[in-house]
C-alpha cells in the first residue's frame, strides 16, 4: 500500500497516511480542468524543479509549455513570482487551469517535504486514471485584491477558490499537517510540539521562503 513510510525515523500518524493516500487518488483522477495524465505530468515537472531540474521530464508531453513553466516556477521558485508573470500564464491557460496547477504543485511540495523531514523516500507517482475534467465553473469568483479571481475577499484560505476542488484539497491538507482553520484559534494548543514551537517552525519556513505569510 502507498505511503507506508518504510525506513522513516518515526511512526507516521494514520490521519497523515490517509491524507496523503487521498491526495494521490486526487492526483491520479481527472480534476476540474486537467485530466489524470496531465495532473501527473504537472506533478512530475514540479518535483523535478524542486530537485534542481528544469523543463519537462521525459514522457511528460501531455501539457502545454505554459503549464510546464507554471509548475516549475511554483514548484521551485515561488518567491520570485510577480503579477505580470501570472497574468501571462493566465493568458495562455486561463486562470482556472493555472489555479489547478498551483494546487497540485503546492500540495506536492507539502507531501515531499514531509517525507524529507521524517527521512523517507519520495512516494512514486500514481498511475493516472481515465476520465475527463469536470470543467466546473465557480460562478461567484471575481477579480479582487489578489492576482487571481477568488470567491469573497482575497485571503489565503480563499486563494484557490476559483477551483473549488483545489480549495477543498488545500483545506484537507492543512488540518493533519498543522491545524484546521478553526483550530488555529487555539493558541495554547499542545500536541507533539507546543503551539509556540509550531509557530517558530512555521515562521522560519516562511522566512526561508521569503514569504510574509
Amino acid at each position: 500500500m502507498s505511503f507506508d513510510f518504510a525506513g522513516s525515523a518515526a511512526e507516521v500518524r494514520m490521519d497523515i497516511r490517509r491524507l496523503f493516500r487521498r491526495e494521490w487518488d486526487r492526483l491520479a483522477l481527472a480534476g476540474t480542468w486537467w485530466n489524470g495524465t496531465e495532473r501527473g505530468d504537472i506533478a512530475r515537472v514540479a518535483r523535478r524543479s524542486r530537485s534542481g531540474g528544469s523543463g519537462a521530464p521525459p514522457g511528460t508531453s501531455s501539457v502545454p509549455g505554459a503549464a510546464i513553466e507554471a509548475a516549475g516556477r511554483v514548484g521551485s521558485a515561488p518567491a520570485g513570482i510577480r503579477r505580470e508573470w501570472v497574468e501571462g500564464i493566465a493568458r495562455d491557460l486561463g486562470f482556472p487551469r493555472y489555479i489547478e496547477i498551483v494546487g497540485i504543485t503546492s500540495r506536492l511540495a507539502a507531501v515531499d517535504t514531509f517525507h524529507t523531514g521524517i527521512g523517507a523516500e519520495f512516494e512514486p507517482f500514481p498511475e493516472p486514471e481515465p476520465g475527463e475534467p469536470s470543467h466546473a465553473e465557480e460562478p461567484f469568483a471575481r477579480p479582487g485584491a489578489g492576482w487571481v479571481p477568488m470567491v469573497g475577499g482575497a485571503s489565503i484560505t480563499q486563494a484557490l477558490s476559483l477551483v473549488n476542488a483545489e480549495s477543498t484539497a488545500q483545506e484537507d491538507m492543512h488540518g493533519p499537517l498543522y491545524l484546521t482553520y478553526e483550530g488555529m484559534a487555539h493558541l495554547d494548543y499542545v500536541g507533539g510540539l507546543s503551539r509556540a514551537q509550531m509557530e517558530l517552525v512555521a515562521a522560519r519556513t516562511s522566512a526561508i521562503n521569503e514569504c510574509f505569510y
Partner: protein, 111 residues
C-alpha cells in the same frame, strides 16, 4: 501567530531568532527546531540526519512528525500565497510594523 501564542502561554520569545540564527529564540528546544527547518529546506542529507536525530532525542517521534508536518504545510501555503498574490492587509501591516522591523522581513520584496 507566533507572537500571539507566545504571549498567551507566557513563553519567553525573541523574534529576531527567526531570521538571525545567532539569536536564541528562547522558546524551549527552539534552536533544535530551527536547525531542523534549515536542514530540511536547505541542507544536504548528512545534515538532515544529524538534525533529525536531535529532534528525535529532544522532542521524540511525535515532535519529529509534527515539525515535519508544519514545515510541509507552510511549504504549501507559501506557494499558494506567492502564486496567487495574496495581499497583506493594511491593518496587519500597521499592527506588525515594529515586529517586522525587528525580524527584518520587510526586505521581502513582494509584500
Amino acid at each position: 501567530m507566533l507572537r500571539a501564542s507566545a504571549q498567551i502561554t507566557t513563553v519567553p520569545f525573541d523574534p529576531r531568532g527567526i531570521t538571525d540564527r545567532s539569536v536564541d529564540p528562547l522558546i524551549p528546544k527552539g534552536g533544535i527546531l530551527l536547525d531542523f527547518v534549515d536542514a530540511v529546506l536547505s541542507g544536504e542529507e548528512p545534515a538532515r540526519q544529524t538534525s533529525r536525530a536531535a529532534v528525535l532525542d529532544e522532542l521524540g517521534p511525535t515532535g519529529l512528525v509534527d515539525a515535519s508536518g508544519v514545515i510541509a504545510n507552510f511549504e504549501m501555503m507559501n506557494r499558494i500565497a506567492d502564486a496567487t498574490g495574496i495581499p497583506v492587509g493594511q491593518g496587519t501591516l500597521k499592527r506588525t510594523a515594529e515586529w517586522r522591523e525587528l525580524v527584518g522581513i520587510d526586505q521581502f520584496n513582494h509584500l
